[in-house]
Symmetry: C2
Subunit: 233 residues, 2 copies
DNA sequence: TCAAAACATGAATAGTGATTCATGTTTCAT
DNA sequence: ATGAAACATGAATCACTATTCATGTTTTGA
């Protein structure tokens, strides 16, 4: 019991793969896919997809470290070795899932808010679109949360992309006089936080309150705040 | 490749300990601490504390599954075996950390909002207290996020306690006419979401914006909402 | 139709780290 | 001061699974 309080070194920032017996590094260093190749046929595409979908379900249900490759391939209906035809390792499927989640959410939000010029109205439609999406993809939602530790870069990229888009949307609306002036960066994070919390309430807490009710209540808060006797037109 | 889409069974809800060789269950079934005892002396208390603190740092830095008992005890400055004198296993320290986080945050919030009868003012003080707290305990903050998978019960307990307290505080304020009428449950979750997101921005994104600025901007949003031309007294 | 390319298999390998335990050392009550 | 209770040690055990690989099977293109 001596030097307490030492700084914990993050040591490679996260998980590392098993050691390979002989690392023959002497090549010009460039290519990055000794394994984990894109399928070339429809059959391969279907198998890869099956594994990815199975991974979503298994990792979403058990969490990253409890989800074994064996469980994933069993769920996908193929042999363990097949997994490594399409993915370099466990981390790689996970990262793909996080990316997919990002793509899908962005698409959902884009569609939900398309052609809505008013920011306050867009805010409501976006919240509704988000809550509908997470209700339809509870596994992906839980997966994002694990990314903070399993793939920090993907985690940050996921939220950064939303934060930046949100911030500039608010800045535009502010310039157009559609919303109250204020710090758009902080407000973007705050609004993302609201959406995230309500999504979690629905998915993790399995709250059954109809989405429309939740959206109405939250949107009232977002528009008018907590203050009493607000101006009602 | 056959029965796809099978339901993934959560299988014991989370991690399970290694199998013990011979389980001699035949006793009346009641006691639950074959290991993991409370220290009886000051020396033991200090060691237990050292391990808990080390676990906070190591798990906070590397995440639960990457944090080995060896790393924790090394950080604590004791032998691996010592760990099992005070904790039944890895999960147990983790759960303690989540509980401790809950206790500390609750205390911080109670102190920050003590003797502030007005809800809107309390809201601001509470947000400030929370952000100050997470800045001082970044490790604990990250740990909560992992609890969703490592110890779901603790995760839910942590947020439930806040949600319920928050909800009833809002309900009281609403009854007293201090805030706008509305769904207090949804609003409680939304406000928690704001705090959580801003805490994350500070801790995970290491954003350096002064806390006071963040609090002012967020509080303006919380009080007045996004709508333009709000009533300014 | 046939060789090559793609896919698929699952048993074997092997790294890892949680947990135990037989053996000391320290502290406490009397 | 002294035996018992507490505490501490760290090497050894051993379950667990990610990953590999030698060997088939299926699909594709000409």
């Amino acid at each position: 019991m001596s030097e307490r309080r030492r700084q914990v070194r993050s040591e490679a920032a996260s998980a590392r793969p098993r050691k390979t017996k002989a690392v023959p590094d002497a090549l010009p260093a460039a290519e990055d896919e000794p394994r984990g190749i894109q399928p070339k046929t429809a059959r391969g595409e279907a198998t890869r997809r099956a594994i990815l979908d199975a991974a979503e379900r298994v990792i979403g249900a058990k969490g990253f470290s409890e989800a074994s490759i064996g469980a994933i391939t069993r769920e996908a209906g193929c042999a363990q070795g097949t997994f490594y035809i399409y993915f370099k390792g466990k981390e790689e499927v996970f990262s793909e899932l996080v990316l997919e989640m990002g793509r899908l959410v962005r698409r959902a939000l884009t569609q939900a808010t398309a052609n809505i010029p008013d920011r306050l109205a867009a805010e409501k439609a976006g919240l509704r679109g988000f809550l509908d999406f997470v209700a339809a993809h509870p596994d992906l939602y839980r997966i994002i949360q694990e990314a903070l530790f399993v793939d920090p870069a993907a985690y940050r990229a996921y939220f950064s992309s939303f934060a930046e888009g949100y911030r500039s949307a608010l800045a535009d609306a502010e310039a157009a006089g559609q919303i109250r002036p204020g710090d758009c960066d902080v407000r973007a994070w705050a609004l993302m936080g609201i959406a995230r919390a309500l999504g979690e309430r629905a998915v993790i807490w399995e709250d059954r309150t109809p989405v429309a009710e939740v959206v109405d209540a939250a949107h009232d808060l977002i528009v008018h705040g907590l203050q009493p006797r607000g101006d009602k037109p």
